[in-house]
Amino acid sequence: MRHLAFVTLALVLAGAGVPAASPGDMARVGPGVLRPVYAPAPGVTTVDVAAFRLDRLPVTNGEFLSFVTGHPGWRRDRVARVFAADGYLAHWAGPAELGPDVRPDQPVTRVSWFAAKAYCSARGKRLPTEAEWELAAAAGDTSPDGAAEPGFRERILAWYARPSTAELPAVGSGQPNFWGIRDLHGLVWEWVLDYNSTLVSGDSRSGKSADRLPFCGTGAFTAGDNEDYASFMRLAFRSSLEARYTTRALGFRCAGDGEVASR
């Protein structure tokens, strides 16, 4: 009870202007301020997020296929097993072939953190941080703070409640949010760079006895916006991941620093 280690990120956006209309595959997001409920440290209630660039769409099977073709070390038959679990790209017909059941415009899933990171790096990009991703995902249709829009949180939770048995739709099927980013909700879960930054206390995860110190840290964890179940669930999901895991509903998109470059 005392060392609750999940962050719930309630959003407080400060001075967010209207994002500049920008062509290309990335959009500018932020700057903004997240208010984490799992306070990262005692007395700390906000996290500043600098402006950054984010892919408008999740990475697709087609895009990942061309990456794997150019970087054969990431083919499923060649990748080091410490970098990708057995399910890595298992839905493709072959190591360098999508096959008839996998469409190039669907979001790529069954990719590990290492593979997602390598993809972004090869494109001159990087994975977004958790704070960046949450900032982008907190935006509604018309404002950077979706929680203020009627039905915003309910829509997201309704997606989480739906079993993910159906075939994944193509990327871009969702509406662009305030920042011009699509599919942050309603399509797939997404890797973030610091997926492994949420510390869950030993007694809540592994049942180990509390007299062994599971963490080094001076931070106490407290809960904040307990209405933001969706952020809470994402953090819970991330905390269950290891970098080599792959799942059929976990994809990614890339980010970059600073202003939108013309690409």
């Binding site: 700390v44 080091a80 079993p163 879960w189 809540s204 963490f215 080094c216 999901f237 269950s240």
Partner: protein, 205 residues
């Protein structure tokens, strides 16, 4: 109670959404350890540039050919990190001399900003570690994140410059394959000791 409810939610999420829920994944990992392991299972597959406490550039595989205990820490950590070093020294003391002589110990800092080679060397001296067999390493943020990912270590930089991180000691064999992974410090480390002692009767090379 709320914590447990949240943990349950996390478990349900992982089971419903992830192809590899935590429990199943642990089973899998366990099996993988027992099976014959191809080269792809070595953490030395990661190409990483680090610097040791004497300023020498090294790779993660600097002790290939030796069993290695590897963990992550930061030098200014007030609580758990001194205990981590003490635990590693206690493990050493409990080993037969021949096994101890072959063992190497690698500690990677999560705090590249403050843990310069000089700071790490000062710590090594202050803690009286055997520098012929111990390396305290620093690396860029991105490399630190990758090594933490490989070792299953969680960490977060706090606003005051300190860190929260999970304490995990991992035993690697001579090829960099994970043999044992122990979470938490201050315990008996019986699994690590058992595996280290077993290495004597069944050398990996």
């Amino acid at each position: 109670m709320r914590v447990m409810a949240i943990a349950a939610v996390a478990g349900l999420l992982a089971a419903g959404v992830a192809a590899a829920p935590p429990a199943a994944a642990q089973d899998h990992r366990h099996k993988a350890m027992e099976a014959a392991l191809p080269r792809g299972d070595s953490v030395y597959a990661l190409s990483a540039s680090l610097v040791d406490q004497r300023g020498r550039p090294v790779g993660l595989d600097l002790f290939r050919g030796h069993p290695v205990l590897i963990s992550m820490f930061y030098a200014t950590c007030p609580d758990a990190c001194p205990l981590l070093i003490a635990d590693l020294q206690r493990i050493e003391r409990e080993l037969p001399p021949r096994i101890k002589a072959d063992l190497r110990i690698v500690l990677v800092s999560v705090d590249p900003e403050r843990d310069t080679p000089n700071a790490l060397r000062a710590l090594a001296r202050a803690r009286h570690v055997d520098e012929s067999r111990w390396r305290l390493l620093c690396a860029h943020d991105d490399t630190v994140r990758e090594i933490a990912a490989l070792l299953g270590i969680k960490y977060r930089r706090l606003a005051d410059g300190s860190f929260n991180h999970s304490s995990v000691i991992t035993l690697l064999d001579a090829d960099g394959v994970v043999l044992v992974r122990e979470e938490g410090i201050g315990g008996s480390h019986s699994a690590l000791l058992r595996s280290l002692r077993a290495a004597q009767s069944a050398p990996s090379r």
